[in-house]
């Protein structure tokens, strides 16, 4: 009798333990459903439905609009240029902080600082640095490096604005990637590196053979975030380039706030979402870590 009762109680407890994780996840799922899934569904409805009927008219308006091609091209360009550059920089920064150098805390503080600034503010700061009578030209003139101000924000010169936006974006958000890398680096046991060192592996060999492979999960997470954020690039581009360059997110905002056409704005948002999902899927697929290779 007692054993049966004990078994029942053990069984019940086991079942409770099995249910617990779902209970813990529930608030997050509810939050995501309410604040992400539902608005997303609404946005898709806005993009595909007008007056109760299905339509692709907003997408036609979007694709045929004079600014669509430019917005699409510039957004893609930003993703392709910024993300790899940021990875190299962030990895260097994270390795520096993770090293045994003196004063690495100071570096950490300096690197983290831009994270505290909103992207619009960062854009305005860089605008005031790069404008013709801005800080950069003033410094260069004082140093005697230029005779008269150089126009850095010149839309007539190819890629000069892209360069300005890339510099600002790198400054603003590389620290974000660095933080993810740093967390990953600190999870790698020292023994591996020390063992490799004993066998005569140099610094770069250690980075390539030990650090990078073990950092793969962090790289995946950072890539996911960065690519999604890069597709949403908006305030920095707006502040630095004004009307000279436009992105998909800028166009979505203009259609909503200036032209009062929520359908086309939703079409832009849907496009951004699809692009983000596809690239996120690619990242997950390409950087998948087989179970047996998982550290810990």
């Amino acid at each position: 009798m007692t054993t049966v009762a004990q078994e029942v109680s053990v069984e019940r407890r086991r079942r409770q333990w099995e249910v617990l994780p779902y209970g813990l996840v529930l608030p997050t799922v509810a939050y995501l459903a309410l604040f992400f899934a539902w608005p997303m569904e609404q946005a898709f409805k806005l993009a595909f439905r007008d007056g109760g009927a299905w339509t692709i008219e907003p997408f036609r308006t979007m694709v045929n609009d004079a600014n669509f091609k430019d917005a699409f091209k510039f957004t893609m360009l930003l993703v392709v240029v910024i993300v790899p550059l940021q990875f190299v920089l962030a990895l260097g920064m994270a390795l520096l902080i993770n090293s045994k150098l003196h004063g690495r805390g100071v570096f950490l503080a300096i690197f983290i600082m831009p994270l505290a600034i909103s992207d619009l503010a960062a854009g305005l700061v860089w605008q005031s640095i790069l404008t013709e009578r801005g800080y950069l030209n003033t410094v260069l003139e004082h140093l005697g490096l230029i005779d008269q101000p150089y126009i850095w924000l010149d839309p007539t010169k190819p890629n000069q604005l892209l360069f300005a936006v890339v510099v600002a974006e790198l400054w603003r958000s590389t620290a974000f990637v660095m933080v993810i890398f740093l967390a990953g680096l600190q999870g790698i046991p020292h023994e591996y590196g020390e063992a490799a060192e004993v066998f005569g592996a140099g610094f770069f060999q250690r980075v390539r053979r030990i650090t990078l492979p073990m950092l793969k999960p962090s790289i995946q997470v950072a890539l996911l975030f960065r690519i999604i954020f890069a597709f949403e690039a908006f305030a920095v581009v707006l502040a630095i380039t004004g009307r000279a360059k436009t992105t998909l997110a800028t166009e979505a905002w203009k259609w909503q706030a200036e032209y009062f056409d929520s359908h086309v704005a939703a079409a832009y948002s849907a496009l951004i979402l699809v692009l983000s999902l596809v690239s996120a899927g690619l990242v997950v697929f390409l950087l998948r870590t087989p179970k047996e290779q998982m550290a810990r």
């Binding site: 013709e132 009307r243 706030a257």
Partner: protein, 443 residues
Amino acid sequence: MRRIRHTRRAVIGLAAALALVAVASLGGAGAATAAHRDAGNVVFLSNQLAQVSEVDQVRNTLLKGFDGNVDYVTPPVGQGQVWFNRITAEAQAGKGTVSLLGGLHGDFLTVQQYLVNLSDVAKQLQKAGIPKDLLALGKLGTNRQLYIPWMQATYVMVANKQALKYLPKGAKINALTYAQLLQWAKNMKDKTGQSRFGMPVGTNGLINRFLQGYLVPSFSKGVVTTFRSQNAINGWKYMKNLWQYTHPQSLTYNFMQDPLLSGEVWVAWDHVARLQAALKARGSDFVSFPAPRGPMGRGYMPVLAGLAVPKTAPNPSGAKQLIKWMNSVPVQARTLGSVGFFPVVGSRLSKRLGAGLLSMNAAVKNTQRAKDAVKSLLPIGLGAEGGNFNKVYVDTFTRIVVKGEDPKTVVNDETPILQAIMDKTGAKCWAPDPPSTGPCQVK
């Protein structure tokens, strides 16, 4: 939230007003208003002076000393339709909270059925010096005074005095032509190595108004009907030409006072309120003058704001008192000094305003009095489509001038979009286009 904040501000404002009245009466100097009794609570909804800095000036400078409790409310920036929605909603409900409306001439045209007759106020104010022709505009073509002119503005040009030596020979700054402006911009670039002419083409810049009120009318004597004409195309070609000598950062400029003050730009066109900071700060370094004349005349866009009382106003007498306050000479002078809009009452401006603002005042008057003036009104009757109307002109500009596409192709591409907006809203033609019976048609 917004209401609560306004109420709190209003309470603070009331306290401040009471304190001021107390101080004023102690000093023996009464408030500048003719009315001495308390006007009570007045909710003042205005779509003008709606930028944060302007709202601050209204609350702390223009309404200071008014004998009543004014709740100054503006629609969120970029959402002008809120103004119309609220007026319409209150009228349809037959019950309102707003007692006084501030808006543009064209705005009142679309809500005129909801406004009361202000003939009594007009009579009193005519003595105060509002010109008859301005008051007549406030009748909106009826025999009732539906709004009272409040303040006016327009767009002028400002030049740094350093630029004057590059003016082409024989050019008079107050009677400039577009051809001379082009030569001037070219001279500056040739002689200094930098483009020193600038335009507000940034995302918040008013380039759309330049295109609709200045460029296209000066070249074609129309804005919608002539959109596809050869004359308009010539205007676009001219603009493309001028663009070579225009500061490349123009695509980022929103308020031309900033690049004028920094010295990036020496000659610029903009709304008076967006130039005034430069003229106030360094009035003796700059001169103001009217925009140039094109082959068909000197296109210009007057901006006339007015005050009106909706039929559902809970406090019409307080609102009327506030109208008289806003139109009193001292408050009108303060309006120019603080927000850069010009008075509607005819009185000489004090020299204390400074050389810059006086020069701008002269430029505004010269523009209005020019014999070759082609008056272009702000778009009328477009409602929420105003943004799309602007988009047509700005897209045409970007494609032809910035990206170098063929003008004829672009104009032909944009014509159906423009026509669709006219058809959708049913908007009739406005000056300088000749009046139409149905929706305005591109010829």
